[in-house]
Amino acid sequence: MPIMNMVQAINLALKEEMALDDRVVLLGEDVARDGGVFRVSEGLLDAFGPERVIDTPLSESAIVGAAVGMAAYGLLPVAEIQFMGFIYPALDQIFANAARLRSRSRGRYSAPLVVRTPYGAGIKAPELHEESTEALFCQMPGIKVVVPSGPYQAKGLLLSAIRDPDPVIFLEPTRLYRMIREEVPEGEYTVPLGKARLAREGKAVTVIAWGSMLERTLKAVEGYDAEVIDLLTLSPFDEETLLASVRKTGRAVIVQEAPLTCGLGAELSATLAEQAILHLKGPILRVAAPDVPIPLARLVDHYLPSVERIREALEEILKY
């Protein structure tokens, strides 16, 4: 089985699905001739031609807006927004249109599209290139939000996302793009949306993480009897798996890369409190970034949750 990084795994997913289904079309800035700024779509223009791998003008709103029209009329567009910090002009299209076309048209039209975007901090890039505002998207019913944590998951989740009948926001943790290499099967396999993954079994505490925080969490829990859940789909998230684990361990730590306030950790925490509080031995703890705009590289180590901060949370919760 070939060993590859996440960029190669996503590229493989796109290539295989485009070969399998001619409704799948890529569009975005620099995705065709340049193969994408992270080279995720490298080689796809040559393989599938300019009608299916489309370099668009610099127009985030129209990239997603056109994808809505394409999806409504028989295509399965995969739109790339070059960095998550540039998705904001397209929020109107995502929130006001893609998310509610099925509902607005009472099922006559739908928008089976995917918006892929690199997400997260730690790549020494300029401002607005390292955002993690995933919780914004989780507040909007009608779309799904997915974050892979490694190459294997990335390929399987992207295939599920493209085949999903509703819009999916697919967030690719840039810090992991080339960090993790693992076996990725060629050919058909999918990782289902809406299901979390047990990344590590344990009995004393449940740690919930997603995206690039999973990698740090797995380092932090070494030496602890910790269960680690890789959330994978942020919306709709897998309540059942979280609750089962927390009812077993009686302790919960949530690790998120985004600022603390109103992050997805708040919703997870509320869910655990509402439905499992009688199983809890202590408070639900969140390890998150502070409530400040994400800094540039020189300050980012003060900002991002570190292995040490995750370990401190483990030590604290294990006192109960």
């Binding site: 129209a62 997603v64 807006g65 029209g69 409504a72 099925r102 006559r108 019913p141 009948p165 809406g194």
Partner: protein, 360 residues
Amino acid sequence: MPVNVIESLTVKRLEILDPQGNADEGLLPPLPEEEIMRMYELLVLSRAFDERALSLQREGRIGTYPSILGQEASQVGSALAIARGDRVFPSFRETGVQIALGYPIHLLLQYWGGDERGLRTPDGLNIFPICVSVGTHLPHAVGAALAARIRREQCAVIAYFGDGATSKGDFHEGFNMAGVFGLPVVFICQNNQWAISVPVERQTAAGTLARKAWAYGFEGVQVDGNDVFAVYRATSEALAKARQGGGPTFIECHTYRVADHTTADDASRYRSAAEVAEWRKRDPLLRLRLFMERKGLWTEEDEKNAWQRARTTVDDAVKEAESAPPPEPEELFQYARATLSPRQQRQLKEIAERGVRNAE
């Protein structure tokens, strides 16, 4: 070095039928007499619907409603140029387009009465649901045209919007992308002079809206939007050009919103009665009626009968809309997603069990 003119712009305006009902015979579209009378009947039906919708709103039987009074020719004239397979992207003030294309009138009343079931376009009609978020549907039209090209489907796409939408980012992004890709899209702006209280002079410093197309590399034309023949001709030509691979066209229908922005607005706060009165003289229905009378196609009796038929049609639609059973709680969730999450399923169960007995 001399300074050379390297590009220059001309903007055409098309007028065929004047307010007195005189037509430029050389420009008249080749429509059979029955088709002209059908056109008029649809104008009457649109106006009859509009009048009834305004009174239903005052009686509390529907919610906020945006009138199309004065814009019937822009809507019916353009809609009649649309072919069956074409894809239509309306904004929220296109009742005349919907009626002319055969959208069931009772569904329109249901929608404006707060029942979302009215927004489900019947199969066989390619009309996108009304877009309330101004101008955001222009990129959808571009995407639908891209899909048609990629899937080798022979059709054109038509998008409707108002003068206010030309100030939005999606107008620029949509127009630009349509121009870059040379897509089969016809953009129809009903420049009705007012975006709620802001006049078109405050939307743009450009002398016409039509000229904006020039910057995107395709043709823009202004037509007298109260002249149903001019609108029909311009739209037919633009759609034919689109289908033949000639790319996008922008048509500015120069018209006027005679009524308030919606039933929740009071236009007397920001514009003069004299201005409104001036535009009422350019009534789009009257000039076609005068034309038909002059041609011997139409009598006083025909006029009476046409209104009678239109009002009966609308009355029947009102009855049908008002006899629709109330939507069930399941409708809240039915189209939220293709498959409900476990949490949504629980929420639906709770809401369905509670009913509305304790809504307050």
